[in-house]
Symmetry: C2
Subunit: 200 residues, 2 copies
Amino acid sequence: MSSDTTKEKIIQAANDVFILKGMDGARMQEIADEAGINKALLHYYFHSKEQLFKEVFYGILSKLIPGLILIFKGEGSLPDKIEAVVAEYDSFMFRNPFLPQFVIREINRDPDQLSGFMSDKGLDFELVEKMINKAVEAGTIRQITFPHLFANLIGMIVMPYIGRPLFQRKLFKNDPVKYDEFLRERRVVITYFIKQAMIC
Amino acid sequence: MSSDTTKEKIIQAANDVFILKGMDGARMQEIADEAGINKALLHYYFHSKEQLFKEVFYGILSKLIPGLILIFKGEGSLPDKIEAVVAEYDSFMFRNPFLPQFVIREINRDPDQLSGFMSDKGLDFELVEKMINKAVEAGTIRQITFPHLFANLIGMIVMPYIGRPLFQRKLFKNDPVKYDEFLRERRVVITYFIKQAMIC
DNA sequence: AAATAGTTTAACCAAATGGTTAAATTTGCA
DNA sequence: TGCAAATTTAACCATTTGGTTAAACTATTT
């Protein structure tokens, strides 16, 4: 097997371990084990934990951002775009259920790096902000500023993933199947909720 | 000064350090320094970090829960209660801005303990759930289940605190004063948002 | 004054952990 | 075949950190 494959095995293993245990909780030895190699070789490819973490973390994020940008810049009415963003975002979280926690940790660990990365990837909110403001002025949607709408949207999407261990216990008698059903309902519930709240 | 005062100094110091750096990031030495004592004395009062952490964490939570229960069990219409919960919750977060992150960490670290604690404190959601279901049946509010409403509510309230380092940079040009203004607007925005979404 | 609890000092311990090293071995490729 | 890169082995290092210990000192109480 080529060196590329080994590197990929490492990244895959790091992915799993990091996303389950976070940067602090992850052990280099465990990542090596998970990848089926030894610690020396791990450091042969990634000279530090920090470097490995960044490659994994920003690797995942890189997969999410293009979809969002496409939606923002694409055709369609504002409500349609909101619906699409919710769908895209939520399905991504469903496939990467530990990502929100992961992002939160990074938001508080190195916000400049994360912020810069988003800019590099071409994700900026000015377009969207203008779009919202224009719709408000035109009377298409109720009065709201972009930051508030953004916080509402992301908060509603992300909360069930962040709070799962508690929510599942308190609201679903700790039944994971029921909780997954609940998660699958979120997309349509959130979309509906936002539309009712925003559209006059 | 009595031993009680020293214990309180420790708890206060631990509060500050834990809430800024989390359980993992906090150092016993730093807590001792912050309390103006030395490590030996710190362990004289709290024999382990774990024990100290729990006293601090559940100490804070204990202050939040009674207010919520009062609202749930008190008089008033459902919309009024929702408004009151948002106000109570949000003002608590504003006074303890690092609490949400703190809770999230604990949710994922020891969910059983946290869940049990809430039950002990008399916080259960069955009443609220019934109240919501009844209102839906009566047609007072639009069709929604309690878990969804709960996730929406908490998500919207908590998100701006969790995501602050990033949001402030991306949406407010990293201006902390502007961000505090934004936070102060949240209560009314969220209340309004929820009411528009829920009330027919 | 004597006893008790609170507090300091300062050294120490054990475990965990990220990272290094050097030599030996295997594999892929020119 | 022979060279270079990939991989293993296994020991080792430095640092951090939670926690301990014992002796001495101080304040409080009885």
